[in-house]
């Protein structure tokens, strides 16, 4: 690789960075967080008690509460979408959803289709192994991912007590 190529790449980054007014890093390629802030956050939910529950049109569960709080923090309305995990992840990948919840864990097979947050709580699975829980957000929307992760980190203690788990 020639030094010229590197200089060209570096110049591109600097130019674009300056052009963007060096807005917050990381930024969303598709501007999801910016759009959702003061607007609409599209959340997919697949039922998985006690994380997400749906009864007679009433939503409940640890992750439902968390996402509702997050939406409140960024002054967003939630547009819910129900379905199975695979369907929701497909919608997330296609950009029709911003966040997917449903008791996902770090071992989720969706790592190539969705950006998983850092674990926000670790519970013990029925088989006795540790189970770190995460949420899924749209791939590459790093401002949203970081905002969600920061939000979840602040609630680790609270959630650990609630579900009788441990902080990661």
């Amino acid at each position: 690789m020639s030094a010229r190529t590197v200089r060209l790449l570096a110049a591109t980054v600097l130019a674009v960075g300056a052009g963007a007014g060096c807005a917050a890093i990381p930024a969303d390629p598709e501007g999801t967080l910016e759009r959702a802030t003061g607007g609409i956050l599209r959340v997919g939910m697949s039922e998985h008690s006690p994380w997400t529950e749906l009864e007679n049109g009433e939503r409940a569960g640890v992750e439902v509460d968390l996402v509702e709080q997050f939406a409140e923090d960024i002054d967003a309305e939630i547009e819910w979408q129900d379905g199975g995990e695979e369907f929701l992840i497909g919608e997330l990948e296609a950009g029709a959803l911003d966040v997917v919840i449903g008791g996902l864990t770090e071992k989720s097979p969706w790592v190539d289709q969705a950006a998983l947050t850092r674990p926000y709580v670790v519970v013990t699975s029925p088989s006795g192994s540790p189970e770190p829980h995460v949420m899924a957000s749209r791939m590459g929307e790093n401002a949203l991912l970081v905002a969600l992760e920061r939000f979840l980190e602040d609630r680790e203690t609270e959630v650990a007590e609630l579900v009788d788990g441990e902080e990661p």
Partner: protein
């Protein structure tokens, strides 16, 4: 008996060791290569700890992993190359240097090509790379900054090491050392491209990461291709060339011919010189002029040829009635 074995030892030493002045240079080169390995261990560990899903960062990390190969090839073959010839290996083990060189070059070519292909596929599939938060010593921040810090650590030391290795590479006429120095010198560009890729993700340009990874992979593959050609040329007994350019004939080739032709009793001569690792193997065919030509003359010619360059180790002087002989190219 003692004097005979001492004489034998002296003959062997003369045959397989570097001249005393080069020996010190070799020790210096060995130290530099160990230093390189020590640095690479810290660099690879630092980058591994910071490694996220950035393609460019992964490419830079793999490049650092591959950077182990030339120093290891150098240090390993340094132990093998000067072993005494055996019945199974009558030409000795000098060529282990070229074999090590070829292995390192092949690894570079394969890995570089793989990285280009993988990143190109990612680019076509428009893979957006997620990078979230990381916590280090109680501080939580965007993991991209950690990756950039690790890459920045690998920015400067390789350049210094590469520069330091150039002089011994020239003195020893060592192609492996030179290729290593050359790669080290260019290593900062890999780190810089990695930083560009991660920053690209940071400012929302998802494709910049894949492009930077392709650039890095391309540079690795190019290094591999360049060195593989040289290594294969040496294994194919191509004409001895200078250490930093395979198309430039080594001055020893013409030097041998001129030195032989300048001797009395030589009417015509033809020379072929090939590389066996660090040392050269020369076959000199001479047509004696009318004067009486004895075994002593042959020994004298052999000494004359060996004095041309310290690299001329195996020298065979063959008296013939006529040139050219057999498979030799026309003069």
């Amino acid at each position: 008996v003692t004097s005979r074995s001492a004489k034998r030892a002296a003959v062997l030493a003369e045959r397989i060791e570097l001249p005393p002045s080069k020996k010190r240079t070799m020790e210096h080169a060995v130290r530099l290569e160990w230093l390189t390995i020590a640095f690479l261990v810290t660099a690879v560990v630092a980058m591994y700890l910071a490694l996220g899903s950035s393609q460019a960062m992964k490419a830079a990390w793999i490049e650092d992993l591959l950077s182990f190969l030339p120093p290891i090839a150098f240090l390993v073959t340094n132990r093998i190359r000067s072993k005494e010839p055996t019945h199974d290996h009558p030409y000795g083990f000098h060529r282990s240097v070229t074999v090590g060189y070829m292995v390192a070059a092949t690894a570079l070519l394969v890995m570089g090509t793989y990285l280009v292909a993988e990143s190109a596929l990612g680019l076509v599939a428009a893979e957006h790379i997620p990078i979230g938060l990381v916590t280090v010593f109680g501080q939580t921040f965007w993991a991209g900054w950690l990756m950039i810090a690790a890459l920045a650590y690998t920015l400067v030391p390789p350049v210094l090491l590469g520069r330091a290795k150039l002089k011994p590479a020239r003195d020893l006429h060592d192609k492996v050392l030179f290729a290593d120095a050359d790669m080290n010198k260019a290593d900062w560009q890999t780190a810089a491209a990695g930083i560009v890729g991660v920053l690209g993700i940071g400012i929302g340009l998802w494709w910049l990461d894949a492009v930077a990874a392709i650039v890095i992979g391309g540079s690795i593959a190019y290094d591999g291709w360049k060195n593989l050609r040289t290594a294969l040329g040496d294994l194919m007994d191509s004409r001895a060339s200078v250490f930093d350019d395979r198309t430039t004939v080594h001055p020893a080739v013409c030097g041998v011919r001129d030195a032989v032709l300048a001797q009395r009793g030589v009417e015509a001569a033809q020379v072929r010189v090939r590389e066996e690792g660090h040392v050269f193997h020369a076959e000199v065919f001479v047509v004696p002029s009318g004067e009486p030509f004895t075994v002593r003359d042959l020994d004298r010619l052999r000494e004359v040829v060996r004095d041309v360059d310290w690299k001329l180790h195996h020298v065979a002087v063959v008296p013939v009635g006529e040139l050219p002989i057999g498979n030799l190219p026309l003069p």
